[in-house]
């Protein structure tokens, strides 16, 4: 789509251009990065950018036929191509303004170089690009330097997975089968405590009045009894047979039979 435009505008430039090493758009962080690469690699003066030459090189890269997939879609994917296209139009505008016989003047009557803004932008970006590199070169915690910590499983790190090996897996499984006698049985445990029974017990114990949750759970022997008692309390609460009161965060929990609540 842009090829004919470029061909028409810059027919003669092609022959004079130095041969550029092949570059791909996805190597760059954006149009400024690409322009800086063109300027620096050809040792152009950033304060006196040869706009016509730069523009044609820039456009040539943009429509390069052997760009990888991401850039190939440039014509379609405006998210990626948009910034590059805006820069292309800026460059073409600069080029035409450079051709104007009467330059614009600033307040003091000096000619305004239309390229000054772009140069400032490029210098600013180049600075931050450099600062980013310096930041990256600093010894970073978790990459270059390590602090002693209780859990060395620091976040944001990738742990290499062990090499997958089907034979080793099968072998390990065979060992396991041998150890359990070649047969794995399921064992089904019968529920030894019923929630219903426990509900009755809870109500019975609450008959005398309110009781602390801690106190209620104290005599439950073992995990199963504990769980059953808590389930029973929750069920009773749901049925609104009892009330559960906690007056403050993390404070003690009081169980009240319904009739005690006025």
């Amino acid at each position: 789509m842009m090829q004919p435009v470029q061909a028409d505008l810059f027919p003669a430039d092609g022959d004079k251009q130095p041969v550029m090493p092949p570059v791909h758009l996805d190597q760059f962080e954006g149009p400024l990065d690409l322009l800086l690469h063109l300027i620096r690699s050809q040792q152009m003066d950033i304060f006196d950018i040869p706009i016509a030459m730069l523009t044609s090189q820039y456009l040539a890269l943009l429509v390069e036929p052997d760009q990888p997939a991401a850039a190939q879609q440039a014509g379609l994917d405006l998210d990626i191509a948009g910034d590059y296209l805006v820069m292309a139009s800026t460059l073409m505008q600069l080029k035409s303004r450079m051709l104007l016989p009467r330059p614009q003047l600033d307040d003091e009557g000096n000619a305004i170089d239309p390229r000054a803004e772009l140069a400032a932008q490029l210098i600013a970006y180049e600075q931050y690009r450099l600062l980013a590199e310096e930041l990256n070169a600093r010894p970073r915690l978790g990459r270059d330097v390590f602090a002693r910590c209780i859990f060395p499983e620091a976040e944001n790190v990738e742990r290499p997975l062990p090499e997958a090996d089907l034979d080793a897996l099968l072998l390990a499984f065979r060992h396991v089968l041998k150890r359990v006698g070649g047969e794995v049985r399921h064992q089904i445990l019968v529920e030894t405590m019923s929630v219903r029974e426990q509900m009755r017990l809870v109500l019975e114990r609450l008959g005398a009045g309110g009781m602390q949750l801690d106190e209620m759970l104290q005599d439950s022997p073992g995990r199963e009894a504990l769980v059953t008692t808590v389930l029973a309390i929750l069920e009773l609460w749901r049925q609104q047979s009892i009330s559960v009161v906690q007056s403050e965060c993390y404070g003690s929990v009081t169980l009240l039979p319904k009739q005690v609540m006025h």
């Binding site: 400024l32 400032a120 390590f146």
Partner: protein, 204 residues
């Protein structure tokens, strides 16, 4: 007279022991802390009768002591922490079996701009980099607690103002934002204008 001399000698001796004891106590505390340990926190733990100047002196002594060892005492985010020396990075990575995640150039550039220009907006970052900043870059930097929202800029749209968080200092081995490399060489907009107009002047 003899008694007095004895007393002085004894006090002198006691002082030296005290200094060493303080240094060794501080050494233990810094190692036992999971976070960079601040002098303020050390004063709180050691008691008010120990001057913060003495604590500082002890820390500096320890810093020198460890400067040639495999672990270093470093000052980060206004606190002190023992860290492995960076020349042993590869060995520790092997020990922990980690492959540290790499930062993309766009994330690094965005972080650098936020660090040096804070408080700054996404629009400003985009203007400087010449490309749109994807939300995922901001999200990644926020997830690592390197950047945070400082507030909103009082312009139409009220965009978020971003700045660096404490974790940025901790992770990038910085004691304060003033320790950012080369920040003094950063030109502001006026200086850039100046540079360009100077150059124009030379040409004419």
């Amino acid at each position: 007279m003899l008694r007095l001399c004895y007393a002085i000698a004894e006090t002198g001796y006691a002082l030296i022991v005290d200094d060493d004891a303080l240094t060794s106590r501080i050494e233990a505390l810094v190692l036992a802390s999971d976070e960079p340990l601040t002098i303020k926190r050390l004063v709180a733990v050691l008691g008010d009768d120990i001057a913060s100047g003495d604590i500082r002196a002890a820390l500096l002594e320890l810093e020198t002591h460890y400067s040639t060892r495999g672990i270093r005492l470093v000052q980060v985010a206004d606190g002190w922490q023992f860290r492995t020396a960076d020349e042993h990075a590869a060995s520790v990575q092997q020990l922990w079996q980690i492959r540290p995640s790499r930062l993309s150039r766009s994330a690094l550039e965005t972080l650098a701009i936020i660090a040096y220009r804070q408080p700054t907006t996404r629009a400003e970052i985009e203007a400087l980099r010449g490309v749109k900043t994807s939300g995922s870059i901001i999200a990644t930097l926020q997830e690592r607690e390197w950047i945070k929202v400082l507030g909103r800029k009082d312009v139409p749209g009220r965009p978020h103002l971003y700045g660096t968080g404490r974790q940025f200092l901790v992770d990038f081995n910085l004691n304060s934002l003033n320790d950012l490399p080369e920040s003094s060489q950063l030109l502001d907009d006026d200086e850039k204008e100046q540079m360009i107009s100077n150059h124009r002047g030379e040409e004419q």
